[in-house]
């Protein structure tokens, strides 16, 4: 606040001194200029941030609220008149075995992807923090998976995990493991889909964590070493607490993204274009279920109810993870 006001008075005062051409004669013009200048300083910032808020209101807030409105209707994409049915969509959803299966699938894939992804990201950030040769090459390499498109990845991993002639089963065969049915076995399909997520995001997160790690003052490590702390001790007592804000950021974004997973399970289906998530829905996620209800069955009300329930689940998970991350990387943690 103070900088702004002092800045504006400064510019008014010195503006008059420094610009003599404007001062003679036009006292009225001068004050108009002053006033314009003051308005400029006071209101321009709002103008600059306005585009974000306007667009967010249209494409973020409105959909969120309108989704809750639509969810109270029997609202078909093909029929004309939506019928108000109150909470019936939610009641039906709670009794929909297919929805619950999708929810369990989503959480299962989410856990299988987030935990290894963050563990790997931390490990590689630590490795890259050392004084490496060719470290730019390593850092650039980490970002390579992020470049590939999700659709391409879905297709490529679908091919690699093909149960009959996929490379993964071929390699497993070399070490004497029987072929795994990656598409039809429920847990195996979750592992396969999670591997796509892990593959894509571990390196990206490693770079984000590494950036924060390099901002840690080096004498903290020196002091810890002098005090006789080993690697593990330095990591737990120095690095993790210093990384806390970044870890919270990474965990929360991974949570919000991971629970909305859509492209990977959709492209993983053996039958192209299917929204079923496998023959018995064994890897259908909630977002895929929502898409199917909305744009395959044209039941917009039901799909909107699904969206809202998923939104609540995401908020709950984000809060749990926020709390966990704070606890785990806190210096005051339980010993």
């Amino acid at each position: 606040m103070t900088v702004g006001t002092s800045g504006s008075t400064d510019s008014e005062g010195r503006g008059a001194d420094g610009d003599p051409a404007a001062s003679p004669g036009g006292g009225g013009r001068q004050s108009l200029r002053d006033r314009l200048n003051r308005w400029d300083v006071r209101y321009s910032p709002y103008l600059y941030i306005a585009p974000f808020f306007v667009i967010f209101a249209i494409v973020g807030l409105f959909p969120l609220l309108y989704t809750s409105y639509v969810s109270l209707f029997d609202w078909s994409l093909v029929a004309d008149d939506p019928v108000f049915i109150g909470l019936d969509n939610y009641v039906a959803l709670m009794g929909d075995a297919r929805f619950w299966q999708a929810m369990v699938n989503t959480i299962s894939i989410f856990i299988l992807s987030t935990a290894p992804q963050l563990a790997m990201a931390l490990l590689f950030a630590v490795l890259l923090d050392a004084h490496l040769r060719a470290r730019t090459l390593f850092r650039v390499g980490l970002l390579l998976p992020y470049v590939a498109s999700l659709v391409a990845l879905g297709i490529i991993f679908g091919n690699l995990f093909n149960s009959e002639y996929g490379l993964i089963n071929g390699l497993l065969g070399l070490v004497g493991i029987d072929p795994i049915n990656w598409h039809s076995d429920r847990f195996a399909s979750h592992v396969a889909i999670a591997s796509m997520v892990n593959w894509r995001w571990a390196g990206y997160n490693a770079l984000i964590i590494l950036a924060a790690m390099q901002a840690i003052p080096r004498d903290l490590y020196e002091a810890a070493t002098v005090d006789g702390a080993g690697r593990w001790r330095r990591f737990v007592s120095v690095t993790l607490p210093m990384l806390r804000p970044t870890m919270i950021f990474v965990v929360i974004t991974a949570t919000v993204g991971g629970l909305q997973i859509f492209t990977e399970p959709k492209l993983f289906a053996v039958v192209p274009g299917s929204n079923n998530g496998g023959s018995t829905g064994q890897f259908q996620t909630v977002t895929l279920f929502m898409y199917q209800q909305g744009f395959e069955n044209f039941d917009l009300g039901y799909a909107s109810a699904t969206a809202w329930v998923l939104f609540l689940v995401i908020v709950i998970f984000a809060l749990i993870n926020f709390w966990l991350t704070r606890r785990i990387s806190s210096t005051e943690g339980p010993r």
């Binding site: 510019s11 321009s44 498109s149 091919n159 002639y165 770079l207 192209p272 744009f295 984000a318």
Partner: protein
Amino acid sequence: MSVLSAPKPARRRRGQDPGSIIGKPGFLTYGLLIAFILGSAFPLYWSFLVASRDSSFTAEQLPPMWPGGNFFANAARVFDTAPFWLALGNSFLVGAIVTVSVVFFGTLAGYAFAKLQFRGNNALFAFVIATLLVPTQLGVIPMFMAMAELEMAGELVAVILPNLVTALGVFWMRQYLIAAVPTELLEAARVDGCSMIRTFWHVVLPAARPAAAILALFTFMTSWNDFLWPLVVLDPSNPTIQLALEQLQSGYSVDYSLVLAGTTLATLPILFIFIVLGKQIVSGIMQGAVKG
């Protein structure tokens, strides 16, 4: 460092570098990293491998790991099977408009939050951060209804409109501009009678260039790779590149040489940008990422 601290290095164990956790990197460090890089590159290489051979390739479980000579033939088939040129053009157009807009408005808002003082600055910025938590994918149904109402469904403008400015862009530019633009410089411009927007144009925008370049690349990549929303709102006859890829694998038996030739073609432009600018991208992340 004063004389007093001079004996300190002698107390270090040999070969230990206390400047990091693991100290001096050994074979294990390099081995793990190299394995990871190879793993990162492999699926992309694999897709080129399949794309460069004929369809019989997919019947072998452990095929040879070197490329064949059919890539151009398969690529030509891609352009025959799906409207790939149209899709490439659409994706470039959408990506270009979205990128310019996100960078411009992101820098504008980021500058306001970083350097300008106004009532509600902190609260509004906290709100911007909070919007990162709103799952945009869940809004596709009302968004689709709105676009249909506005008769924009099927048009590229429906893909462009929702992405014109992002919270991440605002956040990113703010983090960078806090340190990159000296407040004295802004005050000097104001003393010289520069209006706010001229100050932005002539002082802030040039200073923002390095971070803006990174943001531009990431925005373009995200736009290029977007799938769900174009899938919902666009028509199969007027696809983006990702929709065209999905079209390639329709039909009962998937022709992997064809499909993976398509994925390779769709990845090449981004891969090219990345190889040319990878070093800058990474150093940009290292500078701008969330540091606290």
